[in-house]
């Protein structure tokens, strides 16, 4: 039964893995007869590409930004879809619940380029919010996009708006899988709504929550490349420049497959270590794990 899955895995996921060797080579597409041959024939350069990233003068800054932004996002944004799912579940008017559910995932489908336009119209120096602030309170414009102390919050908030609704879907499904008899029993024991949420709903969602959390943690080096690329500008490089945006700028126009592969490999290794590690921790503390 599991055969097709495994076959797929081997052919489509593992065969191309040889491409990872490019991270340690200077890839020349035309080194051999044909591309695969070129991969094999391109010269080995050891850790040169990794050094290029790690020894850059900005490395401390970009790794700090990457981690900080990612951690902010996890801390502030991870619980939100769970809460949203719980709240939605408590709604008893069917049409309201369905409508909100459908609306709330819409922003997920807009691209960051479009979202930038929207947020800029709202929060730009000449935007709606600043105009209101000036008109109502007479306070000067808040530089959401260029103030280093505010920009990261802007990143977190805009991502929250975009993804919370979509991320809640999985948790909603998890809630519906909880046995209603548990609720009935609890109510007969006199548990109020909050007690029910805390003792039944949340524990019922726990396996999914753990899964999501471990995976999200593994993704820690992914601070939101596309988002940051669309929304950042030189004034906030010091707080928002992450590993991927830095590499992007530095390798513009070069089509450097090797550098990109090296970066990807680095991210993958870290993610793998974190996932395996956090899985082990979960197993020991909570008795549950991914495997």
């Amino acid at each position: 039964m599991s055969l097709p899955g495994i076959l797929f895995l081997i052919i489509y996921k593992f065969v191309p893995i040889y491409g990872l060797t490019l991270a340690f080579k200077d890839f020349n597409l035309f080194a051999g007869n044909g591309v695969v041959d070129s991969v094999l024939k391109s010269p080995w350069v050891g850790f040169k590409h990794f050094e290029r990233i790690f020894h850059s003068s900005e490395f401390i800054q970009i790794i700090t930004n990457t981690l900080l932004i990612s951690i902010y996002k996890i801390v502030f944004l991870f619980p939100l879809p769970i809460i949203l799912a719980v709240l939605l579940n408590e709604v008893r008017i069917r049409w309201f619940k369905k409508t909100v559910q459908t609306l709330v995932y819409l922003p997920h489908f807009l691209s960051w380029v479009v979202i930038f336009g929207l947020f800029y119209a709202l929060l730009g120096t000449y935007g709606v919010v600043n105009q209101l602030l000036d008109w109502l309170f007479g306070i000067g414009p808040i530089r959401f996009f260029t103030d280093e102390s505010i920009f990261r919050s802007l990143l977190v908030a805009s991502e929250g708006w975009k993804e919370v609704g979509w991320n809640a879907i999985v948790f909603l499904a998890a809630i519906t899988a909880i046995d209603p008899q548990l609720y009935e029993a609890a109510m007969m024991d006199g548990a109020n709504r909050f007690k029910r949420i805390i003792h039944i709903t949340i524990p019922g969602m726990l396996p999914v929550i753990i899964l999501m959390f471990i995976l999200r943690l593994g993704n820690i080096l992914n601070a939101g490349f596309e988002q940051i690329l669309a929304m950042y500008n030189p004034s906030v490089y010091s707080v928002a420049d992450v590993i991927q945006t830095y590499v992007y700028r530095v390798s513009l126009g070069q089509m450097d497959f090797s550098l990109g592969t090296a970066l990807g490999l680095f991210e993958s290794v870290i993610a793998f270590i974190i996932i395996v590690g956090s899985n082990a921790v979960c197993r020991k503390t909570l008795g549950r794990s991914l495997w």
Partner: protein, 501 residues
């Protein structure tokens, strides 16, 4: 039972793969032109041409496909690269041996491929089959596609040198305030100040933070910087290394501090900038004539009474003004090393440059698609756009002698565009300057570093302008600049320049 299951799954997978394989085989050929001219050694082979992205052209169904077949007798399959990541796709296709006969490449793409030995030298083919080609392409143009003494592609320059950029401003407001059109940087500053005083909520000068939005050529002229490279004492100096550039950056910084610039300059995308101008929130912005069709009507509709004016390049301390003419390589048409029909490919390209064919394929039939009067070509609309609108993408080389004038017919298709074009080029002869490095051949250092270096420059200027970097550190930045490719590019360009003397 489990064995049965295993067996069934295996069969399923095999079937799927087979279907994929068969589907793959057919899927690719489904779109080949069905005129069947592949068979037989005497009839002309089907040629495959890969070109770069162009908006709104269907390379398989465009009317030009049929017209070209009619004219040259060759059945050609055109494929277009995607808009995103075209270089990756191009290189993958060429390296993995896709069977194209002609590649229409941008200069950077050409360089990469020729440096890696992927292209076929064309000297012999041109000698044998390229009579027309030799006639219409000037001798010096061939240098652009020559590497190590051999020609690897047919160079196609841009249609006609012209001035592309300027600063657009609200002429109505200028007149209202009784100011005269500024011709120097100082006069310009005065105008901005006056506008700010009269309209405190208006942004005097806005701009954008993408691409080279900070390097406004009209302004640079006022600092004596007219072209990207200038010859000083026999060597070529990059505009960014010149001391005048530091003054320019300082100037922007001062304007910003005084509140005369858009506070969000670095955040603006082109659309945001144009929004502010066309809705009346900004007085002036950088402008190219290709923005004409969108911006001019938008401005006039949204701000009643508004008039769009453009500025000539400012005079510098010596009273000189100039701006770089847009003169560059558009495309280079190359033949891959492993192409199957190189002779036919050359013959095909040659046929298209035969004078009558060339006129037919770019402008159409005189009297039906266009008219000529005293050397001025005018299109007959709407049939011109319908039948020749996309002709430019199917070019494989242009007639360098005739096309600059013929091409104006194509520009006249869109009156707004043409009006803007004329406006900026009214005094072309007076202001246009040629970039001495415009026709340098592909250079290693340039293709490797230029783009990322440009970005570095732009980011730096924006940071200084908006206050997160200090001009006092300019020298430190210049060292960084040199290390990030500035020095390498300088060396390479000058090496080439010295060799041309």
């Amino acid at each position: 039972m489990t064995k049965n299951v295993l067996l069934r799954s295996l069969v399923l997978i095999l079937l799927l793969s087979l279907a994929a394989g068969c589907g793959g085989g057919n899927g690719g050929k489904d779109n080949a032109p069905s005129s069947g001219s592949e068979a037989g050694g005497d009839s002309k082979p089907v040629l495959r041409i890969l070109g770069n992205f162009a908006p709104n052209i269907d390379p398989e169904r465009d009317i030009m496909v049929g017209e070209i077949e009619k004219t040259t007798g060759y059945d050609v399959q055109y494929v277009m690269l995607p808009q995103d990541k075209p270089d990756e796709k191009l290189n993958l296709e060429v390296a993995s041996g896709s069977s194209y006969d002609i590649l229409t490449l941008t200069a950077p793409q050409f360089h990469k491929l020729v440096a890696q030995g992927a292209l076929m030298p064309l000297d012999d083919l041109i000698e044998q089959y390229g009579e027309n080609i030799k006639k219409v392409i000037k001798e010096e143009s061939w240098d652009l596609s020559r590497m190590n003494g051999k020609i690897y592609g047919i160079p196609q320059k841009n249609e006609r040198p012209n001035i592309e950029q300027t600063i657009a401003y609200r002429q109505d407001i200028l007149e209202e305030l009784g100011l005269k059109v500024p011709e120097t940087v100082d006069e310009f500053t005065e105008v901005l100040r006056a506008v700010k005083a009269a309209y405190p909520d208006m942004i005097p000068l806005t701009g954008h933070g993408t691409g080279d939005g900070v390097f406004i050529r009209t302004l640079l002229s006022g600092f004596g910087i007219f072209t990207d490279w200038t010859e000083i004492d026999g060597k070529l100096v990059n505009r960014f290394s010149r001391p005048e550039m530091k003054d320019y950056i300082g100037y922007l910084q001062e304007l910003y501090k005084e509140g005369l610039l858009d506070l969000d300059w670095g955040v603006n995308k082109v659309a945001s900038m144009q929004e502010k101008f066309t809705s009346g929130k900004a007085f002036a912005m950088p402008f190219g004539w290709f923005d004409g069709p969108a911006v001019t009507p938008a401005l006039e509709k949204n701000v009643p009474g508004a008039k769009l004016g453009v500025l000539n390049p400012f005079k510098d301390a010596n009273g000189e003004a100039g701006i770089q003419a847009n003169l560059r390589i558009q495309y280079i048409h190359a033949i891959p090393k492993d192409a199957k029909h190189p002779e036919d490919a050359m013959k095909y390209m040659d046929l298209k440059l035969e004078p009558n064919n060339f006129t037919y394929l770019t402008l159409g039939v005189e009297g039906k698609h266009f008219t000529v009067e005293n050397g001025a070509y005018t299109p007959i609309m709407p049939i011109f756009t319908e039948e020749r609108g996309s002709a430019y993408w199917f070019l494989n080389g242009i007639d360098e002698y005739r096309y600059p004038d013929m091409w104006l017919a194509r520009t006249r298709r869109d009156p707004n565009l043409y009006a803007a074009f004329e406006l900026l080029n009214k005094e072309y002869d007076k202001y246009a300057r040629e970039n001495p490095a415009a026709f340098a051949p592909p250079l290693d250092a340039v293709s490797q570093y230029q783009q990322s270096l440009n970005k570095k420059q732009e980011d730096y200027v924006i940071k200084v302008m908006m206050g997160s970097a200090d001009l006092a550190d300019h020298d430190a930045f210049m060292k960084e600049w040199e290390q990030s490719g500035g020095a390498a590019i300088n060396e390479a360009v000058n090496e080439w320049y010295a060799s041309t003397k």
